[in-house]
């Protein structure tokens, strides 16, 4: 009787069949020990320990819950474990990729002259020398960096006007008519075009116009535009849609023409979102490899003219350095350059993403909602 009265304020009938608060921690401790034991049987490493511990934790925790709380609660616990596990599994490749690029890439990036020289004149002889004698790895990514910047710049110059005007048409003029519905549908379809097909299209287009084998930076820019336009249209359309209608009506009420309303009221209000959408679109196409590979080839010399001759870019540089090392017998220097270029490329993409987020955050329109 005394024990019952002592317990009843703490554990009512509603909470009787519940795991104690320390249950997850106790299960974790057991799981870590079991995991360590299991992984030593197979051959100990930290990764195996983590995997075995996670499995053991799920098993111990769910089994305990099933014994105390019944099958419904146990299923809930199992689902929670699986969902959290899925998130951790998804993080693994992200951490691994960024770690690999950082570790391998800093060596290449730290080499003097890596950003300032091209691959012109660097051949297998120099690479063999630096691999065997340990001299400095020659050659750099200047030509690719310039190529990437120029091709992306031209792609942006082509896609932003077309994309933005299309978004304006869809939001301001389309009235959900047949043309605007067709455009929306085909923009969606364009989003799904494989990047290499976009490259093939640009190659086929220019081959038909200027003869086969036309490979220049501009062809690559056209290929990238095919990939970039739908992204620009979608993001600008979303941004124009959230401009409050009251602003437009106020402008019309003052007797302002529609086109001036769009130029002076609607677009300035949405400009932060449009700018961040365009930046994200640039970040998406700057890393595209396949379309540039089939449209601009790969060069080892600096070429600043997008309308003539082959052009290199960072992604194709990485690809060719890994797949066809400059010195086939000693791929080390080529790999070092490739990882350095990968680091530069990732830094570019991350900076662009960061800019997009900051622009969207700090210059966001005051919609009053």
């Amino acid at each position: 009787m005394t024990t019952l009265t002592a317990r009843s304020p703490r554990r009512s009938a509603l909470t009787r069949n519940r795991l104690p608060r320390f249950a997850p921690w106790a299960s974790l401790a057991v799981a870590l020990i079991v995991g360590a034991a299991l992984s030593t049987i197979v051959g100990f490493n930290a990764f195996g320990w983590g995997i075995f511990s996670a499995l053991a934790f799920t098993f111990v925790f769910v089994a305990w819950s099933a014994a105390v709380e019944g099958s419904r609660k146990a299923k809930d616990k199992l689902a929670t474990c699986l969902v959290v596990g899925a998130f951790l599994i998804a993080l693994l490749p992200l951490v691994s990729v960024i770690w690999t690029v950082l570790v391998e890439g800093t060596k290449g990036l730290a080499t003097p002259g890596f950003l300032g020289t091209s691959m012109n004149g660097v051949s297998g002889i120099q690479d063999n020398e630096s691999a065997t004698a340990g001299t400095r790895v020659l050659g750099g990514i200047y030509h690719s960096l310039m190529g990437t910047l120029l091709i992306t710049l031209w792609a942006t110059l082509i896609s932003v006007p077309i994309g933005l005007l299309t978004a304006v048409y869809l939001v301001e003029y389309g009235n959900d008519g047949r043309i605007s519905r067709a455009i929306t549908f085909f923009v969606d379809v364009m989003t799904g075009i494989p990047s290499i097909v976009a490259g093939l299209f640009a190659a086929a287009f220019f081959a038909t116009l200027f003869g086969p084998g036309t490979k220049t930076g501009f062809v690559a820019a056209v290929a990238l535009s095919v990939l970039m336009i739908p992204v620009v249209v979608r993001s600008s359309e979303e941004m124009l849609k959230i401009v409050p209608n009251e602003l437009r009506e106020a402008s019309y009420a003052l007797g302002v023409r529609k086109w001036r309303t769009i130029l002076k009221i609607v677009i300035p209000t949405a400009i932060s979102g449009i700018a961040s959408g365009v930046t994200l679109a640039i970040a998406r196409v700057i890393g595209e490899t396949a379309p540039i590979l089939v449209t601009a080839g790969f060069a080892t010399k600096i070429n600043m003219n997008v309308f003539a001759d082959w052009m290199s870019s960072l992604p194709t540089f990485i690809y060719t350095q890994i797949l066809n090392p400059t010195s086939p017998s000693n791929p080390g220097p080529s790999l070092q350059r490739a990882w350095g270029a990968a680091l530069v490329l990732i830094i570019c993409v991350m900076i662009l993403n960061l800019i997009a987020r900051l622009v969207a955050k700090f210059f966001a329109p005051k919609t009053g909602r």
Binding site: R72, D76, T80, V83, A86, F87, L94, S96, V97, T100, V101, T166, V168, Y169, Y173, S180, A182, D188, V189, G192, I193, P194, I196, V197, A198, L200, A203, A204, F205, T208, P212, G213, V226, I229, R248, E249, Y252, A253, G255, R257, K258, W259, R260, A283, R284, G287, E288, T289, A290, L293, P315, I318, Y319, I322, L335, W339, L345, I346, M350, R357
Partner: protein
């Protein structure tokens, strides 16, 4: 003036009171605004014309993609079949590639779909709300990493790391055809490529599913919880039935991406003829085949590659159209809620 007023009224989609306000203004304020509104009418026409032209350019470009691919691929389709791909003929050449592409994408989806749904659920229903958005950004970072970097990671880190696993699969599950040994010693197999593809597809499926999970009517969720459902039962009863079409279309869009992805496969896979085993080197996908052979191709072999690209285009187009169709049906449905 009437003409200008007519133009203005035409340009305005809004109600009649707005129109009358605007047509009155020039009359009241005299001659000067009349001049500017004449110029404005031309501006309106030019601007709407430019906007319409931009929209039509997109339609033209998409048609042009199809037309030019067909035009350049035509020689390969009509040439004597014994001249193509060292005498194999086009269809004999493309069929193993199509099968390889589909297998790689399917395996990638089998890996990616459960993980993505789990991640999306974690962000939408499990993580504390304050950190959920940041976690969403972190997963979006995966989408930002260029495909060639994933390829480089796959060839230099993932492939060697998976070799012990493949050896184990070959020795214990070797009786299943897809795991039959001997396992590749370099790890450059279709399964490695599929894992890399899965990593690239996860952010796509995750972001779409997350949006749809968040759209689940709060009332349904709370009703389920109020009836005593656990969180998982609430998700099964309220969230999944609502989100099923969205998940299907997200998976289809991921499939479209996995089918067309080039660099990861081109770098990771050590290609060869079509084989059933996923852990031996062999198999090839359309996109990687094009990327690897395009630089040296000319004449008829170039046409063959472009025809292969056309086949890939048609496959992804079908997949994407189905996905969009499912999404648009879902939109109408959820609009009623």
């Amino acid at each position: 003036m009437t003409k200008a007023a007519d133009e203005t009224a035409h340009a305005l989609p809004k109600g009649p009171e707005v129109t009358t306000t605007q047509t009155k203004t020039p009359e009241q304020s005299g001659g000067t605004p009349k001049l500017s509104s004449q110029g404005g009418a031309a501006g309106d026409r030019i601007f709407s014309g430019a906007a319409l032209t931009a929209g039509i350019i997109i339609l033209v470009v998409l048609c042009a993609v199809a037309v030019f691919l067909v035009a350049q691929a035509f020689p390969a389709l009509v040439a004597p079949q014994d001249q193509i791909a060292s005498g194999k003929g086009f269809w004999q050449y493309i069929l193993p590639l199509v099968v390889g592409t589909v297998i790689a994408a399917a395996v990638a989806l089998v890996i990616a779909t459960p993980i993505s749904i789990g991640v999306a659920l974690f962000i939408s229903h499990y993580a504390p709300r304050r950190v959920a958005q940041i976690l969403g950004y972190v997963i979006d970072l995966l989408a930002a990493i260029p495909s060639v970097v994933f390829g480089a990671w796959g060839i230099s880190f993932l492939a060697p790391a998976l070799v012990p696993g493949y050896n184990w699969l070959a020795s214990t599950l070797g009786w299943i055809p897809i795991f039959s040994g001997p396992a590749s010693a370099t790890g450059k197999t279709l399964l490695t490529a599929a894992v890399v593809l899965a990593v690239m597809v996860i952010p796509i499926i995750t972001s779409i599913s997350r949006e749809i999970f968040l759209q689940t009517p709060k009332l349904h969720e709370e009703a389920a919880l109020a009836l005593g459902a656990t969180r998982w039962e609430m998700i099964r009863m309220a969230v999944f039935p609502f989100a099923r079409p969205g998940i299907i279309s997200a998976v289809m869009l991921g499939l479209g991406r996995a089918l067309g992805e080039t660099m990861a496969v081109a770098l990771v896979l050590s290609s060869g003829p079509l084989i059933a085993s996923l852990i031996q080197s062999g198999n090839q996908t359309i996109a990687a085949e094009i990327a690897l052979n395009f630089p040296e191709a000319s004449g008829l072999s170039l046409s063959t590659l472009i025809a292969a690209g056309l086949v890939l285009f048609v496959i992804t187009l079908v997949v994407n159209v189905i996905a969009r169709w499912v999404i648009s049906r879902h939109k109408e449905f959820s609009g009623a809620n």
